[in-house]
C-alpha cells in the first residue's frame, strides 16, 4: 500500500477516534438525581428529582466543544412531606401539568481546565423553568470514564460521562410566586446535579 493511501486512512481513523461521543443521560440504574434545597423558617425543604434525560456531546480530546441538553421531568421532584409535595407540583408553584419539563441547554464553555479524566468549566446555557428561559452560567465538573459502561451495565461496552454541578437560582426570576411567601420559602433555590451518561460503542 502506498503512503498516499495510508495517510488518508490514518486521518480518517484519527477523525473517527477524536469525534465527539453522544452520551445518553437516561440512566437505566436510576441513580441520576438533582437535589434541591430551599430555606424555610421551621426547616429547610430538601428534595430531589429523578426523572432525568437528555444527551451531551463530549469529546475527551476537546472538552471545550461540549454541547448538550439535560431535561428533568417536573413531576419527578419529590419532598418527603406529602402536603409540601402537593403544593410543589400544584398550579401555585411549579405547575407541573402546564410545565412538565425543567431543562438546561448549553451555549458555550469558558475556563475549561482538564486534569487527567476530569474537566472543569463554566458552562453558559439556557435554563428553562416554569415557562421562563434564562441564560445562566454554571460551574460544571465532567468526569470521563473510558470503557466503564460494562462495569455498570453488564453486556454493554462503552464510556461513561459523569456530570456534577452545584449552583443556585432565584425562583422569582422564573415567575414562581414572585414577591410572595418570602417569609415562608426562600427565593433562592440551591441545586445540585449528579448525573451519569452512557455512550455505547459498537
Amino acid at each position: 500500500m502506498k503512503l498516499t493511501h495510508i495517510i488518508p486512512l490514518i486521518s480518517l481513523a484519527t477523525a473517527v477516534y477524536a469525534a465527539p461521543q453522544s452520551f445518553d443521560f437516561k440512566d437505566p440504574k436510576g441513580v441520576n438525581n438533582a437535589v434541591f434545597k430551599l430555606d424555610a423558617p421551621l426547616e429547610s425543604i430538601n428534595g430531589s428529582a429523578s426523572g432525568i434525560s437528555g444527551t451531551v456531546s463530549f469529546d475527551p480530546e476537546n472538552p471545550a466543544a461540549t454541547t448538550g441538553k439535560i431535561v428533568v421531568a417536573s413531576e419527578s421532584l419529590t419532598v418527603p412531606n406529602p402536603m409540601q409535595n402537593g403544593h410543589l407540583h400544584g398550579a401555585n408553584w411549579l405547575d407541573v401539568a402546564k410545565y412538565p419539563e425543567i431543562s438546561f441547554e448549553t451555549k458555550s464553555l469558558a475556563n475549561v481546565k482538564t486534569d487527567s479524566n476530569v474537566t472543569t468549566a463554566d458552562v453558559t446555557g439556557t435554563f428553562s423553568l416554569h415557562g421562563v428561559a434564562k441564560e445562566i452560567t454554571v460551574p460544571v465538573k465532567f468526569t470521563y470514564l473510558k470503557d466503564k459502561l460494562g462495569s455498570r451495565v453488564p453486556n454493554l461496552k462503552g464510556d461513561l460521562l459523569v456530570i456534577r454541578a452545584n449552583f443556585a437560582i432565584n425562583r422569582e426570576d422564573f415567575n414562581i410566586n414572585k414577591g410572595q411567601y418570602e417569609d415562608k420559602v426562600s427565593p433562592t433555590i440551591d441545586l445540585s446535579l449528579s448525573i451519569a451518561g452512557a455512550a455505547i460503542t459498537k
Binding site: 441513580v31 421551621l42 426547616e43 412531606n81 455498570r152 451519569a196
Partner: protein, 87 residues
Amino acid sequence: MKRALQILALVAALGVPTVWLATGANRGWTKTSEAVKTLDEVTGIEGISYQKKFLPGVDFLGAGFGGAAVLAGASLFFRKPKTNNQQ
C-alpha cells in the same frame, strides 16, 4: 361521657408526644417518606430513593395537643352523673 372524653384527652396528651419522641423527635414537618441514599461505585454518584416511613413532626405534636384540648374542653359541657346520696 364526661369521664370518657377526659380519658381520651389524657390519652392524646400523653400518647402523641410519646409517639413523637419514640420516632425520633422530628422538629420539622411530618414526613411520610424518607430519602435513602445508595452509592453507585462506578460513577461515585449517590442515588436517592424514597421509602415509606412515617416521621411525625411538630404539626403532629400540635394537632395531638390541640385534639386533647378540644376533648378536654368538650368534656366541660357534660355534667357529672348524679349520684344518689341517701342520708
